[in-house]
């Protein structure tokens, strides 16, 4: 029997949602400040309106949800797992809705749906875009587009967690597809994630700014502008760019290299970042050496390379790279080894990290058939590491599935009764139980289903199969590479399909499924 949610459930969800809206209202002062400094008076008005809507929605939700007798209690004290999931899903639907207001008022979008598409694409760190005349867009609006990447990639919920503590926040944390708890509390973990990100931001912007000024010959202000935009999009594996020709605009191998480093950094799990930055690996090695223990994994100086996830991503990256390069060589698109390797490497890295930057036009990507297409599509679908800003199936799940298959085959080959080592190393030894393998398999199959469903819709509108699949994988895996299908003129239902794919792929299904279940039990429950 379905149990209809009680009024208290709505109040709990409303209060948590209201607080998150207030956090986003606070964040929207940043583009406001940008517009003010740049004397961009038209966009400034739209940012004031957006902040007003966020603030009003947030304050009303808090006021309505917390009746006077409950005001002394913190709403998170009642926040259960399902509440947290509903809050996350609603956040990811409502923030792009209100966040699209400045886009719509800019006149650069043909409809509210197009503006919502770009806001969802920004927040979900996808990077597909329907903006028109991007090259004349106000810098403050460009900043807002890229800031959405940062908010989505680092996690709006994470930002809220830094500000509000409570018992139920673990659900909020997990709802955004994060599993690593690096420190004893979720709140301290959230702070650590933001600290790591801000440190990368300083290093990344300085590095790109130096290259922009000294190598590309941009003026100082524009060097910093480009550096900041590209940092947001690269580190958060987003893929928006301030110019319509994406990374191809810069015509610089050095700029691409620095960007590639940031893309890789964004695709690594925050757990891995934290362990590298905090020197956890070194300390672990010292501990093992001093205590003469026999855990060869924990004692390795190259502990990072021993984890199942790192090994898997290196394997899949190598595989898709070889596939793409052979495919490009067979097609004869590039006549030089330098061209083949630079263009092939950048595109495949962009696909595998889920970034979506490109150095070639989409019309050219559409010509990458055969193995080159296969390599790109597989790289996009697999994605980066778990608990990173990248989308896709994720390396850990792929590694677990491959390991489970290997164990099954080994079990069949060994004599009856022989034991198969079913453990794996992921910063500590873990058992690969059937539940773990099944969970990895289920999410992976959901991703495959999502990609095929999106491709089916594209096919129904007459898009060729290769392009339909490419675009669907790109949307569902939060990548943003386009073969030319994504355009303001595409059918409304196809736009809606990609929006849903972006949402489901970014939240890895569960939070959205719980929201659907919540609404269903509200309607049909007793």
């Amino acid at each position: 029997m379905l149990i209809r949610p009680a009024a208290d459930d709505f109040r709990t969800i409303g209060a948590a949602l209201g607080r998150i809206m207030l956090v986003v209202a606070g964040a929207s002062t940043l583009p406001m400040l940008w517009a003010l400094i740049g004397a961009e008076w038209h966009p400034l008005g739209s940012f004031v309106l957006m902040a007003g809507i966020f603030a009003l929605v947030g304050s009303l939700l808090i006021r309505v949800s917390l009746a006077p007798r409950r005001m002394v209690q913190t709403d998170q004290d009642h926040l259960g797992w399902s509440h947290g999931m509903v809050v996350v899903a609603l956040t990811w639907i409502i923030v792009p809705l209100i966040g699209s207001v400045p886009f719509l008022l800019s006149g650069h979008f043909a409809s509210p749906l197009d503006a919502y598409f770009d806001a969802m694409s920004g927040l979900s760190t996808t990077g597909l875009a329907l903006v028109q005349d991007l090259d004349h867009l106000a810098p403050s609006l460009n900043f807002w587009r890229h800031l959405l990447h940062f908010l989505g990639g680092q996690g709006i919920i994470i930002a809220a967690l830094v500000l509000f503590a409570g018992r139920g926040i673990t659900a909020l944390f997990a709802g955004e597809g994060r599993e690593d708890r690096l420190l004893p509390s979720v709140q301290s973990t959230a702070k650590a994630i933001w600290a790591v990100s801000l440190l990368h931001m300083v290093v990344g912007v300085v590095a790109l700014g130096i290259v922009g000024y000294f190598v590309l010959g941009f003026d100082p202000v524009r060097s910093v502008f480009h550096a900041l935009m590209i940092f947001f999009a690269a580190f958060d594996t987003g893929g928006f760019s301030p110019q319509s020709t994406s990374l191809g605009y810069y015509h610089s191998a050095i700029y691409e290299t620095v960007t590639a480093v940031l893309m890789v950094a964004g695709a690594l799990s925050f757990g891995l970042h934290f362990r590298m930055w905090s020197g956890a690996a070194r300390r672990s090695h010292e501990h093992v050496r001093q205590n003469d223990t026999h855990d060869r994994d924990a004692g390795s100086r190259w502990i990072v390379l021993r984890s199942l996830e790192t090994r898997t991503i290196l394997l899949t990256f190598g595989f898709t790279m070889v596939l793409t390069l052979f495919g490009l060589a067979a097609l004869g698109i590039y006549t030089s080894v330098g061209g083949l390797s630079r263009q092939g490497f950048f595109q495949i890295l962009s696909a595998h990290t889920g970034t979506g930057f490109t150095t070639v036009p989409s019309s050219e990507l559409a010509l990458w058939g055969g193995m080159a297409f296969g390599g790109l599509a597989i790289a996009m679908a697999l994605g980066g590491m778990a608990s990173s800003t990248a989308g896709g199936v994720k390396a850990l799940r792929v590694g677990l599935i491959l390991r489970a298959i290997r164990n099954d085959v080994r079990g069949d080959l060994l004599p009856e009764g022989a034991l198969v080592d079913d453990s794996y190393y992921q910063f500590g030894r873990h058992r690969l139980t059937h539940d773990v393998a099944r969970s990895a398999m289920v999410v992976s199959l959901l991703f495959v289903g999502l990609f095929l469903a999106g491709a089916g819709v594209g096919l129904a509108y007459g898009v060729p199969f290769q392009q339909a699949l490419f675009e669907s994988v790109s949307a569902g895996a939060s990548v943003g590479l386009s073969s030319g299908v994504t355009a303001p003129t595409m059918p409304v239902f196809l736009k809606l399909t990609y929006i849903v794919e972006m949402l489901l792929g970014r939240l890895e299904f569960i939070a959205v499924f719980v929201l659907i279940g919540f609404v269903y039990s509200w309607i049909r429950g007793r």
């Binding site: 038209h42 800019s106 028109q132 005349d133 106000a138 810098p139 010959g217 630079r342 303001p488």
Partner: protein, 179 residues
């Protein structure tokens, strides 16, 4: 008969007055089918946009857009007509130094006619594609644009912020009273 000769003469004069348009191709053709023009001399018209990246080797890199926004940007009331269509171009710096600022927000860049070699997947630059400019003609100078604020949007925004502040003030006051 005399009318026909006169019309033909006028037509001939118009063609000769703008001789470069004869070999001109659209930027969109270069983007969609770049391979067909690889290594050939092409002439394109459009707006210089983005930045002038002045490099130490004597070249300046920028972007040439050949879409409708080059002539009527959205900020200037231009109609929406899809995404930008642009190509990378590199111009000898001594030519680029004389150009008006490139197109951006509230700026229309110079509208130019460029003739040059279409470097498609240039092996010397690891597969980059761009136009190496040999001749540049300014058709229209760049110009600044203005965009006035919409005060009604400001008003709506500030009203919503004021209501939100009022709601939160009332909420915290009651909470403190209950606590």
């Amino acid at each position: 008969m005399r009318r026909m000769i006169l019309a033909a003469a006028v037509g001939l004069v118009l063609v000769l007055a703008n001789p470069a348009t004869a070999g001109e191709i659209a930027v969109s053709d270069l983007v969609s089918d770049g391979a067909s023009f690889a290594g050939g001399e092409v002439t394109v018209v459009g707006e210089l946009i983005g930045d002038y990246g002045r490099r130490r080797n004597g070249w300046t890199w920028t972007q040439l857009n050949g879409d409708s926004y080059a002539f009527a940007p959205v900020v200037d009331g231009g109609e929406l007509s899809g995404s930008n269509i642009g190509i990378g171009v590199r111009i000898p710096s001594e030519i680029a130094d004389a150009l008006d600022p490139p197109g951006r927000y509230r700026t229309v860049g110079p509208i130019v006619q460029l003739t040059g070699i279409w470097k498609y997947h240039d092996p010397d630059r690891q597969g980059e594609t761009y136009l190496e400019v040999t001749d540049l003609t300014i058709l229209e100078r760049g110009r600044p644009l203005s965009e006035s604020p919409e005060w009604s949007i400001y008003l709506a925004g500030f009203v919503l912020l004021a209501i939100a502040a009022l709601v939160m003030w009332q909420y915290t006051r009651k909470r403190d009273a209950v606590g």
